[in-house]
Symmetry: C2
Subunit: 375 residues, 2 copies
DNA sequence: TTGTATGCGTTATCAG
DNA sequence: CTGATAACGCATACAA
């Protein structure tokens, strides 16, 4: 006598796509009942519900999100586009996004534009085809206009920019107050007695670099110091770029007594060059940077830097997305979230001990501890 | 007279889910024709094909991958689970995976287990529900058995482990030859004249740390040196852990003249402590670490370290996945890819200049250049 | 070369 | 409280 295929003893032999229909057949009820029991619908008998749940566990039923999304017209997928995923900043932001998203039942599809607009465009297509519920993006360095984002709006998919964005007011975005960051760092250098403060600036078509520079300029002005254009060097923010830029500054008739760099790597380069020339940091040249990279705590002396609140930015971006989902249908209203940066004062800019507030230091220590990761 | 809704002049007013059915109606052909034209089927008239493509572009038709996946039973989604996404290693591996995957038309869903098995289990459920075509995973630190991965196999979803995995032979995996890495680093220290070489070891239930330690032991043995258990310290691989461990070693009756650490962060801690005690690196104590973190090039002296080929690992993991897809149906055969580590010799372990080969140095420089990222 | 019909797994709309 | 049925958008076996 052949064994019955429908025997409850057989869990599931091979590739086992158990569907709601299977559960329905097995229990002798309708698919509707199964669906309702599984989604905890109100009009459902507690007895049948338990029975369904039990059977589902037993056959280890796995819901098919694709089918559900197709039916409902809304998926639980969230698209994220970043220029690249390496480096502390974007990795941390993605970490923040993913953590918040998964808590809310969303899965995150990650895309890299590799700083290339064409790639970015392709990423958008892919995400739209994947029927994502929303798209979070930090534009690539080569993105000069918003045309390819129009399609996203046209499809009614919520769109949130974070950190990097182009000028244009009709977009939702969460950004850091880069101006305040530049201002704080520069003011701090001024308070340390520096008077000829140079600036390593980034590409000026990106909001972040433009704002950091403006913060620097405004800090100087509000302290009655006229900016000196020869002290502003546009550099690519790499270690080598920092070395070269620092060398150029030292070749000036009147070298600076401090540098505010729009990035930490360039500042490291500056530090290396200064040391190689036998100059002391901060006594001869004080340094303050941007991003609060891990390297700031490794360099000697430790580097003063502006923290970008990476994880908060990720969380905020996701929150903004959910707000957009809730506000669906209502007329478009632009939403912007602006995060406040935090200056971490370290030895590279401390000319006297008096400014070293205890909170700042304990915060820095805490950061160091929490940032440690290992394989 | 009311304007016709089907007028070709109306591109698409609001949220516009243009489907193949719409294109078919507009062109007066069947959906089959549309489907074939779009998927470049062979039996399709070039004229009609062009017409379809043109109309699709005009109405900016966006294919619905969900529907296609549902129909075909196979999606173009790839699930990736990592303990966390921050830090150089996993970010780089994910970078490698995403780059290879998107090139092959796959989208990557990223999940973080946060070093928590329960979370890892949930991640698996999510990915299976999302109908991913495969799952790539590096297990969490708290994962002690493979039970929750059985379900994945049962569903017939290709599963690839990378870097971290538990013992067990019937799995597909791409790993680094950690044993060779530990061996090379230790041999290098021996060649520098070190004789009492200590080891900072990681949790021994993870393959990677066990193998690094074994490589260390075997290198000692093959050089006729009996391992000294008091020189092996299990530490949590943080900077602080490294400081404490180094302090313990220095308190020994016979302190070591070198340390091979299973991680770079701990080595940085050791370096800091040595400096604070007035000891010189590498003259008094030579240091070699693991992971080739960015900090190795920031610390002074630069830290010798074993590179883990992060991106190659990501690429290899994806390749292994595609192989599994192609080998579908055939009986299971375990596949393992073992990557060879590369030792980067730097000042922290160089007691004499003679060993500093030019290739090593140029490779290190190249690495430094290519790793620079900025916001 | 093109069209017709069906089903993938789910949810929503109706009746009972 | 429960059930039958349609529909989501696409791909394919089968017919023309």
């Amino acid at each position: 006598m052949a064994s019955r295929r429908t025997s409850p003893k057989e869990p599931n032999p091979a590739g086992s796509p158990v569907s709601m229909a299977d559960l329905a057949r097995e229990l002798g009820v309708s698919m509707t009942t199964i669906s309702r029991a599984l989604s905890d619908h109100h009009s459902i008998g507690p007895a049948t519900k338990q029975a369904v749940l039990k059977l589902a566990k037993k056959l280890n039923y796995q819901p098919n999100h694709l089918a559900a999304a197709l039916r409902k017209g809304k998926s639980k997928l969230l698209g994220v586009i970043v220029p690249y995923i390496e480096g502390r900043f974007f990795a941390s932001v993605v970490h923040g996004i993913e953590t918040a998203a998964s808590k809310a039942g969303y899965s995150v599809i990650i895309c890299q534009s590799s700083e290339d607009v064409a790639h970015e465009r392709k990423n958008l297509e892919t995400l739209l085809s994947a029927q994502v519920a929303g798209i979070l993006v930090s534009v690539s360095r080569t993105t000069m206009d918003f045309r390819h984002f129009e399609k996203v709006k046209k499809h009614g998919v919520p769109l949130v920019f974070f950190d990097r964005m182009l000028d244009g007011d009709d977009v939702n975005a969460v950004v850091l107050n880069d101006h305040a960051g530049g201002y704080q760092a520069t003011r701090h250098l001024l308070e340390q007695g520096c008077r000829r403060i140079a600036h390593f600036a980034g590409t000026q078509h990106l909001n972040i670099y433009k704002n950091r520079r403006q913060g620097y300029l405004d800090a100087l002005l509000s302290h009655g110091i006229a900016p000196d254009e020869s002290l502003i060097i546009e550099c690519d923010m790499t270690v080598e770029g920092g070395q070269e830029s620092m060398a150029r500054l030292l070749a000036l008739p009147q070298p600076p007594d401090a540098v505010f760099s729009a990035g930490d790597s360039a500042n490291l380069g500056a530090l290396q060059l200064l040391k190689s020339r036998g100059l002391r940091v901060p006594q001869d040249v004080a340094l303050a940077g941007f991003s609060n990279e891990a390297l700031t705590l490794v360099a000697e002396p430790n580097l003063t830097s502006v923290d970008q609140r990476c994880e908060e930015m990720g969380q905020a971006a996701f929150r903004l997305f959910t707000e957009l989902v809730e506000a669906e249908g209502t007329p478009f209203s632009q939403r912007q979230v602006v995060l406040q940066p935090q200056l971490f004062v370290r030895a590279s800019s401390l000319r006297s001990g008096i400014d070293e507030s205890p909170e700042t230091n304990s915060a820095a220590k805490k950061l160091q501890r929490s940032r440690v990761h290992h394989t």
